[in-house]
């Protein structure tokens, strides 16, 4: 079955001529037509461009010019601008927006010859942890369609879990790759801040946003990151630093690896069964030769409050570009310019986006700036310093990705604060700018649980190595939800 193959298996099969990229793409398009209505993972399916790209890839393969991703179908989060294809960011504001240019990430995948199946559903402007804030309706978790897939990259996680794409892209501002990966039982990697270009990736919080791969295996994530990572002059915070071949060290021995377990990640608020699954994963690592050390990240409890100043402040500034003038939604019959701004924004944005814009506006307003924004930036340093100290003693940090397995649709959507606490273990890595992964590590009540692995700056190769070795001795990442086998 084509849809059960990993990227590296698909790549080998395409080169060996077992099937063509056109056949593979058609097979995925027909699975999407049949099964996507169950999960609502795609906002747009780009059938014609996909078949055209597949045809081109088949010619490249026939000419012996194929790279590792040539002819491989992928799903792209609808936050990346895609030339000629609707780019909505999950919002009514951009419902009619056809991007005039490609994001660098998209350009990289196009150059590599991969095939875009479509654009995945997401929380509006990436603000949410359940995918329920999307203008296009909630995404459902393929393991139980009464539950959420996590967010904001919930569509990207669901389509990989449901085998409606072999791999996808996501973005992570406070956990938006890792938390849905955990809740849907897939592998997700948020790279170091600045590793992947943000050009053409619709901005939420510019000092936190980072794009990364969402895949079935760590090996596939390495193949994707090889294509995504790199310096880009068009992103002012892109890092000028060589990109290693992330597949090279996947099989390195873990003998002598030191794993730090932050005691704050195993305390109050953690579902006991999730904690048990994570401990069992740690036990596997000990068998692989790793040693474990208890550490402390004493400012962990401040990560969520700090984030809910920094991220809304940056979002209120970034989203000021949506003004009904140059692109996006415009209200009907504005009476004057202020009415045009206010109603275009008031009607175009959903409730959660408006809440965050208002919190950010308040935190940045005269008289409150020092008490909120400067204070949050000071705490951000304390949180970041906790990690610096920890990485003097340990190679990687492990813990749960999310405090509990997927919750029910509607269960938390009326209570923003409870929803925000879904990201309690993931937010700190964004504030510090560190890379983090989520890897399938078991099931609780038939729902997947993720193990989070946080690494030092630019240590993605080690994270992938650590994740890959675990996937060699476990099969959690190979499980498929029954309806999507």
């Amino acid at each position: 079955m084509m849809h059960n193959k990993t990227l590296s298996e698909l790549s080998a099969a395409l080169k060996a001529g077992e099937f063509s990229s056109t056949e593979l793409t058609q097979s995925y398009l027909s699975r999407i037509a049949d099964l996507d209505p169950l999960v609502n993972g795609y906002i747009t399916v780009s059938k014609e461009p996909a078949l055209a790209a597949a045809k081109l890839a088949d010619q490249q393969i026939a000419a012996g010019e194929a790279g590792p991703l040539t002819g491989i179908p992928l799903a792209q989060k609808d936050i990346f601008c895609t030339k000629g294809v609707k780019t909505s960011c999950g919002s009514k504001m951009l419902d009619s927006f056809i991007s005039p240019y490609d994001a660098t990430v998209i350009e990289n995948f196009n150059k590599a010859g991969s095939v875009m199946l479509g654009k995945t559903n997401m929380d509006e402007f990436a603000m949410g942890s359940s995918n329920e804030t999307s203008f296009y309706g909630a995404v459902k978790n393929p393991w139980n369609t009464a539950k959420v897939p996590g967010g904001s990259s919930g569509g990207s996680a669901a389509v990989v879990a449901a085998r409606l794409a072999p791999a996808s892209t996501g973005t992570d501002t406070g956990g938006s790759i890792r938390q849905p990966a955990s809740l849907c039982g897939i592998t997700g990697l948020k790279p170091t801040y600045g590793r992947v270009s943000r050009y053409g990736m619709i901005a939420f919080a510019s000092s936190l946003d980072q794009a990364g791969p969402m895949t079935r295996t760590a090996e596939d994530a390495a193949l994707m990151l090889n294509c995504m990572a790199g310096f880009d002059a068009r992103d002012s915070t892109s890092v000028e630093r060589d990109v290693p071949d992330y597949t090279k060290d996947l099989s390195n021995s873990l003998e002598g690896l030191t794993i730090g377990l932050p005691k704050e990640y195993f305390g109050e608020g953690l579902d006991a069964l999730v904690g048990k699954a994570v401990e069992e994963a740690i036990a596997e690592y000990k068998k692989l030769g790793a040693t474990v050390k208890e550490i402390s990240l004493p400012n962990t409890h401040l990560a969520v409050p700090t984030y809910y100043v920094v991220a809304p402040a940056e979002c209120s500034s970034n989203l000021s570009r949506f003004d009904g003038v140059r692109f996006g939604y415009r209200c009907a019959e504005p009476v004057d310019l202020e009415d045009l701004y206010k109603r275009s924004r008031g009607e175009g944005f959903g409730a959660e986006v408006k809440r965050r814009i208002m919190i950010g506006t308040y935190a940045l307003s005269a008289g409150y700036y020092d008490a909120y924004y400067i204070k949050a930036q000071q705490l951000r340093r304390l949180i970041s310093d906790d990690f610096k100290r920890a990485f003097e003693e340990v190679d990687v940090i492990m813990g749960p990705t999310a405090p509990e397995p997927a919750f029910g649709l509607g269960e938390k959507s009326n209570d923003p604060i409870t929803m925000y606490l879904s990201d309690i273990y993931t937010i700190a890595a964004n504030l510090a700018g560190l890379p983090g992964m989520s890897v399938p590590a078991g099931f609780v009540n038939d729902m997947p649980v993720g193990l989070q692995i946080i690494g030092n700056y630019f240590d993605e190769a080690r994270l992938l190595n650590v994740a890959h070795r675990y996937q060699q001795v476990t099969d959690w990442h190979q499980r498929v939800p029954t309806q999507f086998k």
């Binding site: 927006f97 801040y193 924004r345 814009i357 919190i359 307003s365 304390l382 700018g433």
Partner: protein
């Protein structure tokens, strides 16, 4: 920290967001709750801590001052709600 309905109206105006009167009470409650969560920050003494604006210690990259972009005006204006003769149209501002 608790906001009043007038605060909500003032913030919505600063953010140029129209909010219906019926929605004001729920924004008042939710925004107050979020600020309550954020309030935990004040328990920590940070008087000696330098603010961290950005995760990586890096200087702003500079480039030569020359035109590198091509003209994309037609492409970019094709997605605008209202355009005439290369200009974005808005309601009349000056009488």
């Amino acid at each position: 920290m608790s906001l009043t309905q007038d605060d909500v109206k003032k913030i919505a105006h600063l953010a140029r967001l129209s909010i219906s009167d019926a929605d004001i009470p729920s924004y008042e409650k939710e925004l107050s709750n979020i600020l309550g969560l954020v309030e935990q920050m004040s328990a920590v003494d940070t008087s000696d801590v330098a603010p961290m604006a950005h995760p990586l210690d890096m200087a702003q990259r500079l480039r030569e001052d020359k035109v590198t972009e091509e003209n994309h005006r037609e492409d970019y204006q094709a997605v605008a709600p209202s355009v005439e003769k290369g200009l974005f149209l808005v309601p009349q501002v000056i009488e």
